[in-house]
Structures are given as C-alpha cells and as structure tokens.
Symmetry: C2
Subunit: 154 residues, 2 copies
Amino acid sequence: MENQRSYESAGRWLSTVHRYGYMHLSKTFDEYGLGEGQVKFLMVLFEKKEQTQEQMANVLNIDKTTTARAVKKLEDEGYVTRKPHATDRRSHLVCLTAKALDMEPMIRSILKDWTNTLTEDFTDEEKVIVVGLLKRMATNAIAKIKQEEGVKEK
Amino acid sequence: MENQRSYESAGRWLSTVHRYGYMHLSKTFDEYGLGEGQVKFLMVLFEKKEQTQEQMANVLNIDKTTTARAVKKLEDEGYVTRKPHATDRRSHLVCLTAKALDMEPMIRSILKDWTNTLTEDFTDEEKVIVVGLLKRMATNAIAKIKQEEGVKEK
DNA sequence: CACGAAAGGTTGCTAATGCAACTACTTTTT
DNA sequence: AAAAAGTAGTTGCATTAGCAACCTTTCGTG
C-alpha cells in the first residue's frame, strides 16, 4: 500500500481527455447542428441502419433517457426519423435520413482526426494497445456497475 | 483511409469508462456529502496544501467557473475554508479543514479501489502503460485546444 | 382471460461542466 | 499619475448525463 503521492492515476487523465474531447467535438460539430452527445447514436445507426432506442442504449451502455433526448434532437435537426415498430406499438424504429447519410464521411473524418490528435506521437503499436486497454477497462467498469445494481435489487 | 467499420475508437471506450467512473464515484462519495466533481480539487489540495482557485484550475486544466462552484460546495460541506490572500485582494487561498484531512485516506482508497476495478485483469506492466498512454493523450488534447484558442484570438 | 410483472419511452429533477459577460482588484504603459 | 490591459472570481445560460417516477403496451402465469 505505497503512498500514492501525486495525483497521477488513470482516472485523472481519463477525465481530462474526455473533457477536452467533449470541448473540441462540440465546437466542431456545432455548425452541423449536432452536439457531441448525439454523434455516438449516429455512429450506431451508421452500422446498424435501424434500431430501437432501447437497442441503441444497450449497445452504447447509455441510459435510456439520455438516448431518448439525443434521438429527439437528431430528429429535430433532420438526421433521423422514427417510424412505428411493426409488431410492438411501444417502440419506434429510429432510421437515418439522407442528410445523415450524406454527412457520414464528414462525421467519421472529424472523429478520426480527433483520435489522430490524441495519438499523434504514438507508434502504430501503441495506437492498437491503447484501444485494447481502454476497451478492457470499459468492460471491467460495466461489469462492476452491473454487479452493484444486482446487489441493490436482490 | 481504411473504412472503419465498427465504432471501436479510443474515444468510444474512453467515454464509457468516464461515465461509469462518474456513476460509481458519485454514488460512493455521496454519503460523505461529496460529489465526484469536487474530489479532484481535494486531491490537489492534499498535495499542495494551499492553493488559489486559479492555481487549482490550471493544475487540473479545468475551467475557473467549474472550479469556483466546486470550491463553494466543498466549503458548504466543511471540507475547505477560504482565507484572504496576503497580498492580492482579488484572490483567496483555499485550505483544507481537519475534516478533509481525516477523510484523506478514505478518499484515496475509494479512488484506488476504482482504479483497481478498471485494471482488474491487467498485468503490472499494463497498469503502468495505460497511465502513461492516457497522460500522453491528455497532453496532446490540451496542446490542441490551446492551439485552437491561440488561433481564435490572433 | 385477467392480473401482475416487464419492457419501451417520456418528463421532472439534479450534477458537472464550459462559455460569455461582468465586477473588482493589480500591473503595465504612456 | 491616469489610462489601458490583465488577472481572480462570480453569475447566467446551455449541454450532456443519470435517476426516480410515471404512462402505455406487451407478456406470462394462474
């Protein structure tokens, strides 16, 4: 149990990178009527084409209320439409509009540019390593929270 | 320019880890009257003992308004006091209370536990690597944002 | 089939955070 | 020394995000 003298933990840098990414991407996407928070949902739709809100929330591990509000903004800005689900009247299928599809390359390139900025001085190997480690941390975090929830409602 | 088919970028996992960390730490610190957002300022004070808000904002790369509000909450909860600066009447020195010092081991241990959870299945080497890579990403992010600001006000 | 549980969404509330604008002191320039 | 520029903090506003509570529809079991 060494005395951790300086505040240099993973979490400290993680939150810095996250905040700065948020700032940069918010500013960059602003001119397209997009907020940083909506982009991740677009990314899911670019891959899956049609999804219910519930499905998107699950894939991204994001709360369903956050999902609902992000989808609403995307709809307001003309990036997605919602059509009734064929068999379940509770849910809606969220679909991309032509506008969103036109913007796909642009959006991907903005995200990629930011990733490149973050890993500017990384070797190719390090670039691969960091994604892998972050993914494992995310997996561990998710497992822990799920476990806490499980305990709570036992 | 390979087609990045799945949304597996560093940023995606980074934001997941960040959000889950926020959730876990908020919940854990809640019973001490602390929010996740205030803890990083306490960590700075544990190391530097006395700081102006400006100094804390700089160390953490956090906006001064966020700093002001975090300090206010810490003051309201009895973790810090503010005393007038000896030579500059614009600023205040933020100092820890006995209550905060008593809680220091507890707070460090909660943060460390979460780090351990995130890196549960990491080798010792990987634990070191991930902090280093995150720190470099943070440095790159900060440099980029500073550069954008510089351009703006030219 | 009916009733209760579960699932998909929405609304109200709260926290952390950044930006713009403002006040109040300090330092620099002329 | 007076005016200009810069620094420390604060307040108002907006965004992302989660939680609790609620509504509506669907499903499962007696």
